[in-house]
Each structure stands twice: as structure tokens, then as C-alpha cells.
């Protein structure tokens, strides 16, 4: 088989003695969606934050295209074309949609001045695709609804041609229609060859959208399964019992 796009190997990270992620290994192939499942506090967000540079893991190794990489901060991750939609969205509430979309990567004119016009035009362009009902381009994002804020965070992750996309509960604040649009977006990005980690509480959605699912419990990996090989009940069993389904257990 081809080289994985991402290999997370034996990742460990503890907070004050509590092992939030304990020796977890998962990989991700180009054009693949891997779901991360588990109860609240299982360690899903913490695991992907090691990949996005938000946290520095205590031990373990990350490989991109088969090569070991150092990810010490979010800038390192961005330089490796890793984009992340955080569960908290990580928006600066006092800035507008365009300023958030381009935060840290502002477009500037030849003289180094912030190019508001171009950033707004680009924001309108991508929002047209992601959320055509979005209108509040001039307002600070704190004035936006949960769904609108979420679409700004999604737009930011998609705009910069990521190769590796991390989505931590991207539809938590979205209505059914917007959720469907995100599902379509994921499928489109997958076709373009991106690798996607998708954290979602909706087992049905994970089974539908993901090629494989990794289940975590108490910081440990329960197992990684192909979604075609398991039922939703099997996945639920893995989440609750922390055991592989019987027909797959070795």
C-alpha cells in the first residue's frame, strides 16, 4: 500500500500526571477520512492538537509522507499544510470574518499594508461556496450565530489548500442543512486527495463519511476499524466498553 500521509506513532501527553493521550498510534492516507470516536474526555482533541501544533507531545513520533517531522507550534503545522478546525473554533471575537479567515496570514499590498479589500473579496468568494446565506462580513464574529462562526472556522481551514485537515466536531453548532453541506464538503475534499481526521459525536455520520474509525477511551486507543466492517452498534460498543467487536477481536 502507498505511504501514509500522516503517521501518529505512540503519542503520549499528560497534564499534571493525568495521561490525556496514552500511547496512541493512528495513520491517515491521502483521500481518506478517519473518524475519531470516544466519550468526552477520551483524549480525541488532545491527540489532534499534537498534530496541529497546539500542544507538544511528551513522547511519540509524527511522520508526514513517511518522514519524521517536528511540530513544535501551530506555525510548524501550517508549514506542513496541516489545517485544523478546533472544537472551540479559535476565533478572535473582536475581528470580522475576513480578519479571522486570514489571521496570521493576512494579505498585504506591495508596501506591506493590510489588503482589506482583497481579503474581504476572497472571504466572500469562499463563503459563497461554503455558506451562501452568510451575510455578516463587516461584523465582529462575536455578533455571529454559532453556525455562522463555525462556517468561518471551516472556511479558514479550507481556504489555504491544506493537505491534511483536522475537523474537531465541525458540525456541533450547525443545523441539518449546513451539516449536510459540511458532509458534501468533506466528500469533495476527499476526492481532491486530502487526508481528513474527523472528530464527531454522531456515529451515523462517522459511519457514512469515514473510511476508518479510531476509537479512544480514557486516553487509550481501543482500536481502528474499517467502517465497512462494523455496524453502528459495534462502534457504540467500542466507545462504551472499550473493546473491539467480537467478530474483529483477535
Amino acid at each position: 500500500m502507498a505511504t501514509p500521509l500522516v503517521e501518529l506513532r505512540n503519542i503520549c501527553i499528560a497534564f499534571g500526571g493525568i495521561k490525556a493521550v496514552d500511547d496512541v498510534s493512528v495513520d491517515l492516507y491521502p483521500g481518506e477520512v478517519v473518524g475519531l470516536l470516544g466519550h468526552n474526555g477520551a483524549g480525541k482533541s488532545t491527540l489532534i492538537k499534537c498534530l496541529s501544533g497546539a500542544y507538544r507531545m511528551d513522547s511519540g513520533e509524527i511522520r508526514i509522507d513517511g518522514r519524521p517531522v517536528e511540530i513544535n507550534n501551530p506555525r510548524d503545522a501550517r508549514a506542513l499544510n496541516i489545517e485544523c478546525i478546533y472544537q472551540t473554533l479559535a476565533l478572535a471575537d473582536n475581528l470580522d470574518a475576513a480578519a479571522n479567515l486570514f489571521l496570521g496570514r493576512e494579505l498585504v499590498t506591495r508596501f506591506g499594508f493590510v489588503d482589506e479589500a482583497r481579503m474581504e473579496a476572497e472571504t466572500r468568494r469562499i463563503m459563497q461556496r461554503l455558506n451562501p446565506n452568510f451575510r455578516k462580513f463587516a461584523a465582529p464574529v462575536k455578533a455571529l450565530s454559532g453556525g455562522q462562526r463555525q462556517s468561518v472556522a471551516i472556511a479558514r481551514a479550507v481556504y489555504f489548500n491544506a493537505r491534511i485537515l483536522i475537523m474537531d466536531e465541525p458540525t456541533a453548532a450547525l443545523g441539518p442543512q449546513e451539516t449536510r453541506m459540511v458532509a458534501e464538503l468533506i466528500q469533495e475534499l476527499k476526492r481532491q486527495g486530502l487526508g481528513i481526521f474527523l472528530i464527531d459525536h454522531d456515529i451515523h455520520a462517522v459511519k457514512e463519511l469515514c473510511d476508518r474509525a479510531a476509537v479512544m477511551k480514557n486516553g487509550q486507543l481501543v482500536g481502528v476499524v474499517r467502517c465497512a466492517d462494523v455496524s453502528e452498534d459495534d462502534l457504540l460498543g467500542m466507545i462504551i466498553l472499550g473493546k473491539m467487536p467480537e467478530h474483529l477481536a483477535v
Binding site: 485544523c84 479559535a90 478572535a92 473582536n94 475581528l95 489571521l103 496570521g104 506591506g112
Partner: protein
């Protein structure tokens, strides 16, 4: 309170006070000469307040600017007294400001001390340093080179505008240049965008790859530089330097920024709004002095204005 109401209240209050002064002092208040006077008296405050806006944009603040202004003035004056040329004294004063600002930034951003505590500490250190450097004395007279003192007295003649004998002071022009530079930095450069983002959500800024630690150090460094610049302007204006002459600038600068915040739509610090805040304080100070109101009463008023402005700004945010 609606933002529009909050924004206009400050301006309405300001207009009312200015109109009151104009009525009470028809011959001396609403004149071109007096306006130029106010612009000159307020120049130092404008510089400190504009640079204070830089740190306040990211939600921090700097209590040490007043004592830094004193320290920079004293350092320059002591060098002058030792025979150093003007540029050496000025450069040394500015360098001290930059360095002190970097110390503030490191204490806040690297060590992680709250800005209030860190800059209260350095306020004391800079203030003590100013006493040590000057030996507790005022440096004046022949020690201060004439070109340095003349700077504050000079300006661009305004005869062409029909204002015979009046000059637009260099001090005011310097302040205008600083304001313009801070405006470009905050409103048109990525640096400013990153400062406001950090003020809005420091963690989001970090996750967006913004080097928040370096950014904070740079902002405090600029605040220190601005404070030192104002200290030198003040020393030039009074043609002397003593270790406490900048002390009043800190509270006034914070007051100006907060007053400005009541005038912006978002309730955020914006440098042009800060300038409006400086104008309010400048007009108030000038009018009250002309009315012979005791300077301690003015201090009470300034304190009350700060509190009222903070209260407004807080109420505006809590919607």
C-alpha cells in the same frame, strides 16, 4: 446601553464642557492662540497615550510610562550636563525607553507576570533609577543645551494662514507624527491586526501561528519608547529635567485611552479615539487652569473621568 448612545455621550459631554469654557472665558479660551497652546501642552500626553494604545490594543497596559518619561529626561539631561551633544542625549534617552519597555515585555510575556503587577514594579524601579541618575536634583540652566530647549519653543510660522505671530509648535508636529505612525501600525499593518487579535483571544492568535510572546514584547518596547520620547519632549519644554516630572502622564494616558474607548463603536482602544481622549483632557486642563481651579481639584476630576470612562466602557461591553 446602546453603542451609539455610549459613543455620542462622551462627545456631547465634551462639547458641553468646551462650550461652557467658551462662555466663561470668551477672550482667552476660544482663540487660535489658545488652541495652539492646548496642542502644545497636550503633545507629550498624546505621545504617551498613543503608545499606550499599542499595549492596550492587546488587552495589556503599562503603568511605568510616567516614570519612564522622567527617567529618559533625566538620563538625557545628565549626559548634556557632562557635555554630550544633543543627539547623544536624545538617543540615550530613547534607548533607555526601548530597553525598559523590553524588560516590561519580557516580565509580562515570558515570565508571565500580570501587566499590572509587572509594570507597577518597573514603575518603582524606573522612578528610583531617575533619582539615582539625577542625584535627586533638577538639572537645568546651562546644563541644558540651547538647541534642545529651543526645540520646544519653536515651530512652523502660521503667518501665511493669517495668524500673525503664531507658530505651530514642533512639539505638536512631533506628536502628530507619532500618532500617524501608531495609526499606520495599528490600523494598516499586520502587527496591529495581530495585536487586536491577541487582545480578542490570545489563544486563538497563538493557534493561528501568531508569535504572541514576541508580539507582546514588541508592543511593550514601543510603549517604553513612546514614554521616553514624551519624557524628552517634556524636558525640552521646561528646559530642565527632574526625576518626577513625567509622573502625571501615566494616569492621564490611561484616561485618554479609556475615554477614547467610550467613543469607538466596538469599545476597543483605537488610536484616533485616544487622540480625541487626549483632546478632552487637554481642553479640560486648559479651561480649568484658566478658571484658576486648583490643580488638586483637576486631579480629582481626571480620576473621576477615568472611572466614568471605564464604567461606560465596561457597561458597553456587557451587552
Amino acid at each position: 446601553m446602546s453603542p451609539a448612545l455610549r459613543q455620542s455621550l462622551t462627545l456631547i459631554g465634551f462639547a458641553a464642557v468646551a462650550a461652557g469654557f467658551a462662555l466663561a472665558l470668551p477672550d482667552t479660551f476660544p482663540t487660535a492662540r489658545n488652541l495652539i497652546n492646548i496642542a502644545q501642552q497636550s503633545a507629550m500626553l498624546a505621545v504617551v497615550a498613543a503608545s499606550m494604545t499599542i499595549v492596550m490594543a492587546m488587552g495589556d497596559f503599562d503603568l511605568s510610562v510616567g516614570s519612564m518619561a522622567s527617567l529618559a529626561g533625566v538620563v538625557a539631561a545628565v549626559l548634556f550636563a557632562g557635555g554630550a551633544p544633543v543627539w547623544v542625549g536624545v538617543a540615550a534617552g530613547l534607548a533607555v525607553g526601548l530597553l525598559g519597555g523590553i524588560v516590561n515585555g519580557v516580565l509580562v510575556a515570558v515570565v508571565g507576570i500580570l501587566p499590572f503587577v509587572a509594570t507597577l514594579g518597573t514603575l518603582t524601579i524606573f522612578s528610583g533609577g531617575a533619582f539615582i541618575v539625577s542625584g535627586g536634583k533638577t538639572i537645568f540652566g546651562r546644563a541644558i543645551p540651547a538647541p534642545f530647549a529651543d526645540f520646544a519653543r519653536g515651530g512652523v510660522p502660521l503667518d501665511a494662514l493669517g495668524l500673525e505671530g503664531l507658530r505651530l509648535p514642533w512639539l505638536s508636529l512631533t506628536a502628530a507624527a507619532v500618532i500617524a505612525a501608531v495609526w499606520v501600525l495599528l490600523e494598516r499593518r499586520r502587527f496591529g491586526r495581530h495585536l487586536y487579535a491577541t487582545g480578542g483571544n490570545a489563544e486563538a492568535a497563538r493557534l493561528a501561528g501568531i508569535p504572541v510572546v514576541r508580539l507582546r514584547i514588541a508592543a511593550f518596547a514601543l510603549a517604553g519608547l513612546g514614554a521616553a520620547g514624551a519624557g524628552l519632549m517634556l524636558a525640552s519644554r521646561v528646559a530642565s529635567a527632574n526625576p518626577t516630572q513625567g509622573a502625571g502622564l501615566m494616569l492621564d494616558a490611561i484616561a485618554a485611552v479609556f475615554l477614547g474607548m467610550t467613543m469607538t463603536r466596538s469599545g476597543e482602544p483605537r488610536v484616533l479615539a485616544t487622540v480625541a481622549g487626549v483632546a478632552v483632557l487637554g481642553v479640560l486642563g486648559n479651561g480649568l487652569t484658566q478658571l484658576r481651579v486648583d490643580s488638586y481639584v483637576r486631579e480629582v476630576l481626571t480620576g473621576a473621568i477615568v472611572l466614568a470612562a471605564v464604567a461606560f466602557a465596561t457597561l458597553g461591553r456587557r451587552r
